[in-house]
Amino acid sequence: MLARSPQAALQRLFDEVGSVDQIGVDERVAKYGTRSIKKASKIQGLKLAASMVDLTTLEGKDTPGKVASLCQKALAPHDPELGVPQVAAVCVYPAMVKHARRALGRDTAVRIASVATAFPSGQVPLKTRLAEVKAAVADGADEIDMVINRGAFLAGEFSEMQDEIAAVVQACGDATLKVILEVSELETYDNIRAASFLAMRVIRPGDFIKTSTGKTSLNATLGNNQVMLEAIRDFYLATGVAIAMKPAGGIRTAKQALTFLVAVKETLGDAWLNNRRYRFGASSLLNDLVRQLEKEKTGAYQAPYYFSEAAESY
C-alpha cells in the first residue's frame, strides 16, 4: 500500500518527473554567463528582449495616472529612430486593468496582463480568486497571472493545486494564463520541476509558467529559469504541447536579460525566441535595454536621466 504522507506523495512525483541536481544546474547556467554577445547579435538580442518585456507596476500606490504613463512607455519605449520595439504587455493589478485599457485603447498589439487570484499570496477562498480573474478579464485583461496554491503543493495535495489551476483556466476564457510557481517558496529545484509539470498538465498550449511574484526575497534566477525551461522542453518533447515561460523579478540589466535569452536559445531553441513563448516580468529592465541600444548606436553611454531610469516614473 502506498504511503499517504505529503513526503511520500512528493517522492512519487519526483520519481515520475525526475530529480534535479542543484550543483549541476548552477554549473550549467554559469556557462551561459560566459557567452560573449557582440555587435549585430547584441542589438538583435536587446531588441528581442525589449519585445518580451511585461512592463510591470504592482504597488499599493498605483494610480490611474501612473498606469497611463506606464502604458505610454509600453507603446513607445524611446525615440522611434532607435527602433526599440513595443513591449509585449503591461502588467498591473486587476483594479488598474480598466485604466490600462483606456490608456492603450482597443487597437493595440500591447497586451494587458493582470495579476489576479489574490496576488501575491493566493491565500483567499477559491471562489474569491475566480471572481477576481473573471472581473479582470471583463475589464479588458488579455492575460492573467495567477499564483499557485503553494500550501497545497507543500502539503502533497497535488490534486487540489491542479484543480484550482484548471478552474482558473476555465475562468480565463480566451485570456492567456500565466501560472506563477513562486519558486522561492518552493525552495528546491526538485520542487520547482515537479510543480512545473503539475501546472503544465492542466494549462493550454501557449499558456505560461512563471517563476515568481517579485514580492519575495528571491525571484527569477538563471538556475530556476533553467529548471523550468528543461521542464518545458521535456513536456514538449513528450506531448507536443508548447508551454511558454516567464521569469519575473530581479532581472534589471540588459546583460542579465541576454544571458537568460542564451539559456532559452540553448535549451528550447529558436521556437521560443519570441514574445509568444518567452517574457520578462520587469520594470526597470526596459530602460537599461534602451540605454544599451543607444550605446550600440552612438558608441557612448548616455546619462541615466535620458531614460527615465527610476522604475517609479515612466
Binding site: R4, P6, A9, R12, L13, E16, G18, S19, V20, D21, I23, G24, V25, E27, R28, T34, R35, S36, I37, K38, K39, A40, S41, K42, Q44, G45, L48, G156, E157, F158, S159, Q162, A166, V169, F197, L198, R201, V202, I203, R204, P205, E230, R233, Y236, L237, A238, T239, G240, V241, L261, K265, E266, L268, G269, D270, A271, L273
Partner: protein, 504 residues
C-alpha cells in the same frame, strides 16, 4: 488523498500517431557574432632552450616550427635540444641543487613559488592566449581553467614548502635531488605546474621537456622564473620530440623520473629504467567509465557527460570516454545528449564562445579519424551534429557511438579525442564489471541520487579518481593518479608531495 497525476490530462493533446515527433529547433535565428579574444600573447619569433637561468641556443643549431593547429600557421621556432644540451641542463640542475636550492630553507623556497604564482596571475590573459594559439584549446578553457589552475598549483605547494616537517607524521623528509620530467601536449602549462610545483617545494631541481607541439607556454613560464629571480639551474627546459624525451628519461643524473603521457611511451620508459635505482611516477592513459544510473538527475548527468568527454576536445587522460548507462534510461539519455551536443559550438579556439576548439596536431587528427572509422566499421551507430568546421586547421566534430559492445575498439582503445562510446548495463554489479574491464584505471564517474551507491561504487571501481554526480573536477589539494596501466604515483595533495621526497 494525494493522487498521482497521470489522470490529469484533460488539456493535454498527446502526440498523435502519424505526426512527426516534436523536435527542438536549435538553429541560428539569433546567431552570435564572432567574439575573438584580443589580448597580445607576446610571442617571440624564436624560443631557445632554458638552461641555467638563461635562454641559450641549442648546440646543434637546429630549430623546429610550432604551429597553430587552428589555422596551420607557424607561430614560432623552437630550439631542438641534442644530447649535449640535455647534459648541460642536468649539470646546471645538479649545480643548483648542490649549491643553492637543496640547502635553502623551505620558507625561502616558498617565497619564490608564491612569486611565480602571482606573476602568472598578473599575466594570465597573455598566457591564456598563448596556450590557445599553441595548443588549439578554446580560449574560455585556457582562461578559466588552465592558467588559474596552474597558478593554484604553485600557490598550494608554496604553502607546503615551509610545513614539510608535517607532511609525513613522525618522519622527516628530504628532497631527492635532480628530477627529470616529460609532459604531454594536452595541458602544456598546467602539466608544467603539476610537475614543477611539488618538486620545487620539496627542494628538488628539475630538467623538464615539454611536448614538441606545445612548448611555448613552458618557455614563457621560464621568463617568469627569470622575473621571479629563481636561482639559475633550478628549472631547466629542453625542447624537442621523442628522442629528446628519451635523453631526459635515460640520463644518469636524475634521482627520479616523472612522466605524463601515453601508456605506450610509459612502458618504453619503464623498460629503459628497469634495473636502475631511480624513482618513477607515471601518469598514463585512460578509458574512463562514466556510469549513469536510472535514478540520476538526467539533465545534469548529460551536462557531466558532455563535460567529461568534450572538455579540451577530449584530449584528457581522464576523459569519460566510455558512457555506461542503465538500460531503462538509455534512450532518454541518448536523446538528451544529442540535443545538448547540437548546441556545442565548434570552431576558432580564440573565439570566446567556442566550446570545442582545434585538435592539437595533424597526427592526432589522423588517429581520431582512423579510430572513428573503425568504430563505424564495427557497427557502432554514429552521431555527429551538423556543425560547420573551419576550412583550415585540424577540427573534428563531437562524435558519439551508441550500441557499442565491450569488444569494440572504440570501447577499448584510448582515442584522446571528442569521441564518446555508449554502452548499457542492467545492474550495479554489471556496471562495476564493465567499468573495471579495461587495462586502464585512471578515473570514473558515477551519477545517481543514492548516496550509499556512490560509496559502494567508489570502493569497487578500480580507478584513481571517482567523481560522483560531477566530472573533470580538479584541485591542487586532491591527489590524481592511476591504477593498472594508467600508471602509478600521485600528483597533487600530500600524496603528490611524498612522491618527490625520501623519508629519513
Amino acid at each position: 488523498m494525494p493522487t498521482l497525476t497521470a489522470s490529469k490530462k484533460s488539456n493535454r493533446s498527446a502526440v498523435r500517431a502519424g505526426r512527426p515527433a516534436p523536435e527542438l529547433i536549435l538553429g541560428d535565428l539569433w546567431e552570435f557574432d564572432p567574439a575573438p579574444e584580443s589580448a597580445d600573447p607576446k610571442l617571440k619569433a624564436r624560443y631557445e632552450l632554458f638552461i641555467d637561468g638563461k635562454f641559450v641556443a641549442p648546440k646543434g643549431g637546429r630549430y623546429f616550427d610550432s604551429i597553430n593547429p587552428a589555422n596551420e600557421q607557424k607561430l614560432a621556432e623552437i630550439a631542438l635540444a641534442g644530447p649535449a644540451d640535455v647534459d648541460a641542463a642536468y649539470a646546471a640542475a645538479q649545480r643548483a641543487y648542490d649549491g643553492v636550492w637543496g640547502k635553502l630553507p623551505g620558507r625561502e623556497r616558498a617565497k619564490y613559488l608564491y612569486r611565480i604564482a602571482r606573476l602568472l596571475q598578473d599575466r594570465a590573459r597573455e598566457f591564456a592566449v598563448a596556450e590557445t594559439l599553441d595548443g588549439g584549446k578554446p580560449i574560455k578553457e585556457s582562461r578559466d581553467f588552465d592558467v588559474p589552475m596552474a597558478a593554484a598549483h604553485f600557490f598550494y605547494h608554496a604553502g607546503w614548502a615551509d610545513k614539510l616537517d608535517y607532511v609525513a607524521p613522525g618522519r622527516k623528509v628530504a628532497p631527492l635531488g635532480v628530477v627529470g620530467q616529460v609532459i604531454p601536449w594536452n595541458f602544456p602549462l598546467l602539466m608544467c605546474a603539476w610537475k614543477l610545483a611539488p618538486a620545487l617545494a620539496m627542494g628538488n631541481t628539475v630538467v623538464l621537456k615539454p611536448a614538441e607541439t606545445t612548448s611555448i607556454t613552458a618557455l614563457k613560464l621560464a621568463e617568469i622564473f627569470q622575473d621571479a629571480g629563481l636561482p639559475p639551474g633550478v628549472v631547466n627546459f629542453v625542447t624537442g620530440a621523442g628522442e629528446v624525451g628519451a635523453a631526459v628519461m635515460n640520463h644518469p643524473t636524475p634521482a627520479k623520473i616523472a612522466f605524463t603521457g601515453s601508456t605506450e611511451v610509459g612502458k618504453i620508459i619503464m623498460r629503459g629504467l628497469a634495473g636502475t635505482d631511480k624513482k618513477m611516477t607515471m601518469e598514463l592513459g585512460g578509458k574512463a567509465a562514466n556510469i549513469v544510473f536510472d535514478d540520476a538527475p538526467i539533465d545534469q548527468a548529460v551536462e557531466g557527460i558532455v563535460n567529461g568527454i568534450f572538455f579540451n576536445q577530449g584530449h584528457v587522460c581522464c576523459a569519460g570516454s566510455r558512457l555506461l548507462v542503465q538500460e531503462s534510461v538509455a534512450a532518454k539519455v541518448l536523446a538528451k545528449l544529442k540535443n545538448r551536443i547540437r548546441t556545442l559550438r565548434v570552431g576558432d579556439p580564440m573565439d570566446k564562445n567556442t566550446d570545442i576548439g582545434a585538435i592539437n596536431s595533424r597526427e592526432q587528427l589522423d588517429k581520431i579519424t582512423r579510430l572513428v572509422a573503425a568504430g563505424v566499421k564495427e557497427g557502432g551507430e554514429m552521431f555527429q551534429p551538423a556543425c560547420k568546421l573551419p576550412a583550415k586547421g585540424f577540427y573534428f566534430r563531437p562524435t558519439i557511438f551508441s550500441g557499442v559492445s565491450m569488444s569494440s575498439r572504440v570501447a577499448r582503445e584510448e582515442i584522446f579525442g571528442p569521441v564518446l562510446s555508449i554502452l548499457t548495463f542492467r545492474t550495479v554489479d554489471e556496471a562495476i564489471e564493465k567499468a573495471n574491464n579495461t587495462a586502464y584505471g585512471l578515473s570514473a564517474g558515477v551519477w545517481t541520487d543514492k548516496g550509499s551507491r556512490i560509496l559502494k561504487m567508489s570502493t569497487e571501481l578500480k580507478a584513481g579518481v571517482v567523481w560522483a554526480n560531477t566530472y573533470n573536477k580538479f584541485d591542487p589539494t586532491s591527489p590524481f593518479g592511476g591504477y593498472k596501466e594508467s600508471g602509478f604515483g600521485r600528483e597533487g595533495g600530500r600524496q603528490g608531495l611524498l612522491d618527490y621526497c625520501k623519508l629519513v
